[in-house]
């Protein structure tokens, strides 16, 4: 609160917000569900988002509320459920991990307004076999602001895979602020994949923060298939030796979409690795922005870091801003970074046409190939195949062509 008062909301003069005008996103007069009205909406009837071939437990967040129909999991070593419930059962644990994001006004705004959230806690040594799926639904018959929160606690040696999906069940314009906080204790392994497939009326301001301890492993990917304005601030701190992080992003944007990913990876310990790959396919008059900074502090010797941002502007009016950055204070490191912005390869398109492949199909194959590169980094094969299918559908039928949720089409 004090931070928010002192600093105000970010403007384009703030280095990390120079590509996105946050004030304009917050400008409309949004409704807030402060009265905690029940939304009388059972997502299970309409959003049976499944990943074929993968066991999963699905947990819904409707608007800003953890759905009443969710089945709470609390078996001693795994908790998946509402933050309010978690606070009653495990107040000390919550206090130790909650609200550790610093220096971020949007996260502070979320903290100020948030009413509930989801907690996933995987206790020491627990390996969760099923995919934990979170479905966030934008709802409301008037423009709404939903403030969502996730807290992920991976204790020593714990393993889990989380799929976070954002969908929309409304044609009304709306904004979601999201804060995802995660801690990976020694030797834990978290796969966290976020899929955004809403509508052009849904704007998103997301702050994601992971802190990694010794020998922990994080695989993070965000996949933006359809959205309005989408801004993600991702902070990953490597605090223990031998921690590994792989951060990936895929953005497909058309019309006048605005997608901004701002990443900061901080190496605070020796012998850690970070592997970053972001790819954008921009059509129409969409605007993409990527800024990724890898900060290697003096004690982080033997850091191994690789950062790549590759972008395809398939229409002449699409624009991409790319800013990969490296800041190194240690002297024995292996780091590189680079970015490219290109168009579809005409030579390849004509080669395909000579083999009878129409230009439309040829463009589809090239864009898909470009995008699939990112999905190859997803270890869970059924999920990877599902996402490949979704990306193909997205290219073939356009954004939102199947209604609200491509997931349900399968």
């Amino acid at each position: 609160m004090q931070f928010l008062e002192a600093r105000g909301l970010p403007t384009r003069k703030d280095e990390r917000y120079k590509y996105t005008d946050v004030a304009a996103v917050l400008e409309p007069d949004f409704g807030l569900n402060l009265g905690r009205l029940s939304l009388q909406f059972d997502p299970r009837q309409t959003y049976r988002c499944r990943v074929p071939g993968l066991g999963s437990s699905v947990h819904y967040v409707v608007g800003d509320s953890v759905a009443e129909s969710n089945v709470l999991i609390d078996d001693g070593s795994l908790f998946v459920g509402s933050m309010v419930e978690f606070a009653q059962r495990y107040p000390d644990i919550l206090r130790a991990y909650y609200n550790k994001v610093e220096g971020d006004s949007l996260a502070a705004l979320n903290t100020l307004l948030v009413q509930d959230g989801l907690v996933i806690r995987v206790a020491k040594g627990r390996k969760v076999a099923d995919l934990l799926q979170i479905v966030n639904l934008s709802v409301g018959s008037v423009p709404m602001l939903a403030n969502r929160r996730q807290l992920i606690i991976m204790e020593q040696g714990a393993e889990a895979s989380i799929l976070n999906c954002n969908h929309s069940a409304t044609r009304c314009s709306n904004l979601a602020t999201e804060v995802v906080e995660g801690v990976l204790a020694e030797g834990s392994h978290l796969q966290y994949y976020s899929v955004e497939e809403t509508t052009n009326n849904c704007n998103l301001l997301n702050t994601t923060q992971f802190v990694q301890h010794e020998s922990s492993k994080l695989d993070y990917a965000s996949i933006t298939l359809n959205s309005g304005l989408s801004r993600r601030t991702i902070n990953i701190t490597l605090d223990g030796t031998h921690a590994q992080t792989a951060v990936s992003g895929l953005v497909l944007a058309n019309d006048n979409r605005h997608i901004d990913n701002n990443l900061l990876v901080v190496h605070n310990a020796p012998l850690c690795s970070s592997d970053i790959l972001y790819k954008y396919v921009l059509d129409g008059s969409s605007i993409g922005a990527f800024a990724g900074k890898v900060l290697v502090n003096a004690q982080a010797q033997k850091t191994d870091s690789q950062e790549t941002n590759a972008n395809l502007c398939v229409s002449p009016t699409a624009r991409m801003f790319t800013q990969p950055m490296l800041e190194i204070y240690a002297d024995d490191v292996k780091c590189n970074h680079g970015s490219t912005v290109g168009q579809l390869d005409d030579t390849a398109l004509f080669y395909m046409a000579q083999r009878g492949i129409t230009p439309e199909e040829g463009r589809l194959l090239l864009q898909q190939a470009f995008a699939w590169d990112v999905l190859q980094r997803i270890d869970l094969l059924p999920l990877r195949q599902r996402l490949m299918h979704m990306v193909e559908e997205r290219f073939r039928r356009g954004a939102g062509a199947c209604g609200d949720c491509v997931m349900c089409a399968g």
Partner: protein, 246 residues
């Protein structure tokens, strides 16, 4: 089959072809020879409809149809195939997906339903064995990391898959050692039928030892200046092109 009449064509405003006439009948193999820059590759690119080349005059018909009115993909569906001098690499697109898209596009043009997965794989295996293409290559990205010989063999494999009526071999022999050349040429010969024809562009007579041509044309400065039998190719091999420039 193919009737080319008085074709003039230019690239970036520069006229390369200055009135080409050529008639290819079913069952024939034609050879186009000529020094660099004489217009051989331009002619083949004009036939397949490469948008970088502009036809300024003349007509081309293929089995009675106006070829110049068709987009490149329809020319392919009608049965025209070009084996590239430098096959294009397409990272991320697997050979299998690429060929399946090509086969299905042709089937759609012919009013046929898409090929089933099983039938497609059977077809790939059969054609692959016919041209001696390594099984692993069809699972890799199109031409990516292929050796020179593998790329050319891959072109003949694609030809086998698409069963064209007219094949243009654009310097298929360049960059190949004798063994690779023999394998590629043998693959091509296996695919020949009385209903198909070919135009083979080459600098070297050694290609002609494998592909016995019926007619040899010599191009100079955008025109066909001499047409003859196979002997013409042997004479050029020993004497060069100078005697044709008067």
């Amino acid at each position: 089959m193919l009737e080319i009449k008085n074709i003039h064509a230019s690239v970036e405003g520069k006229e390369i072809l200055k009135g080409i006439n050529l008639s290819v009948k079913a069952g024939e193999v034609h050879v186009l020879m000529g020094p660099n820059g004489s217009g051989k590759s331009t002619l083949s690119n004009v036939i397949v409809g490469n948008p970088q080349y502009t036809v300024t005059a003349g007509t081309i018909t293929f089995n009675g149809k106006d070829l110049l009115a068709m987009p490149p993909e329809d020319r392919s569906h009608e049965g025209i195939f070009m084996s590239y001098q430098q096959p294009v690499e397409i990272p991320g697109v697997s050979m299998n997906n690429f060929m399946r898209a090509a086969v299905n596009a042709k089937r759609k043009y012919q009013g046929l339903p898409p090929i089933s997965g099983g039938d497609f794989l059977k077809m790939v295996k059969e054609k692959r064995e016919l041209v001696g293409l390594d099984a692993g290559l069809t699972r890799r990205s199109v031409n990516e990391g292929f050796s020179g010989g593998e790329k050319k063999r891959n072109e003949i494999f694609q030809m086998a898959m698409l069963e064209p009526l007219l094949t243009i071999l654009d310097e298929t022999d360049s960059g190949l050692d004798v063994d690779a050349l023999r394998i590629v040429a043998e693959g091509f010969n296996k695919l020949r039928t009385p209903d198909t024809a070919a135009i083979c562009i080459t600098h070297y007579q050694r290609m002609l030892d494998y592909i016995r041509p019926d007619i040899v044309h010599v191009m100079l400065d955008g025109r066909i200046v001499r047409t003859g039998g196979p002997d013409l190719a042997y004479r050029i091999e020993s004497e060069g092109f100078d005697w044709l420039k008067e």
